[in-house]
Amino acid sequence: MVAWDVIGALVTLAGSVFLLLGAIGVARMPDLYNRMQAGTKATTLGNLLTLTGLGILMPSWLPKILLIAVFVLVTNPISSHALARAAHAAGIPLAKGSVKDALDHDREAR
């Protein structure tokens, strides 16, 4: 079953490409919120793909590996949201080029 090995490895490779792209985003983006966009979330697809690829390499473990992937998929947005929310409440500003901030506007109106 050499073919399955190669497919699994290729899926893993595709995943690690997304992991790298997400990390490039974290390094390049101008402010915290954009870094979260590129970083924490562009990497979730990378995470999903690498885990699936490794699951294909080891089919008998696939259910458990997919469970880890689902866990990441469920918890990641919750912690990202909490962090972004806290950061905005703590007054971490948006980058200079940002178009608008409806939340800041509404807070001041209150």
């Binding site: 893993t12 992991l19 790298l20 390094a27 995470n47 690498t50 880890i68 990441v72 962090l83």
Partner: protein
């Protein structure tokens, strides 16, 4: 063939960790560092699963799962801390 592809994948993942470390060192705010740590977690979890697959020890899958849980709790408590202090 498969081994070569996986080696390339490992190099790319290592590059991702390096870039995250760069952001971890540069900051500028604590929340940025938290994001960098979160990215590193997302790389390390499949890394641990890879370790489990290649060493053939299924117990490492549980290590990866618990690591994911702890990282989630860590980011949540950091967010709570930024919001209103401990």
């Amino acid at each position: 063939m498969a081994d070569t592809i996986l080696l390339i994948a490992l190099v790319l993942a290592a590059g991702a960790v390096l870039l995250a470390v760069l952001r971890l060192l540069r900051g500028p705010t604590a929340a940025d560092r938290a994001v960098a740590l979160d990215v590193m977690t997302l790389v390390f979890v499949p890394g641990m699963v890879a370790l489990a697959v290649f060493s053939g020890r299924k117990i490492y899958l549980d290590v990866a799962l618990v690591y994911g849980v702890l990282s989630f709790l860590g980011v949540m408590s950091l967010a709570r801390y930024f919001d209103r202090g401990i």
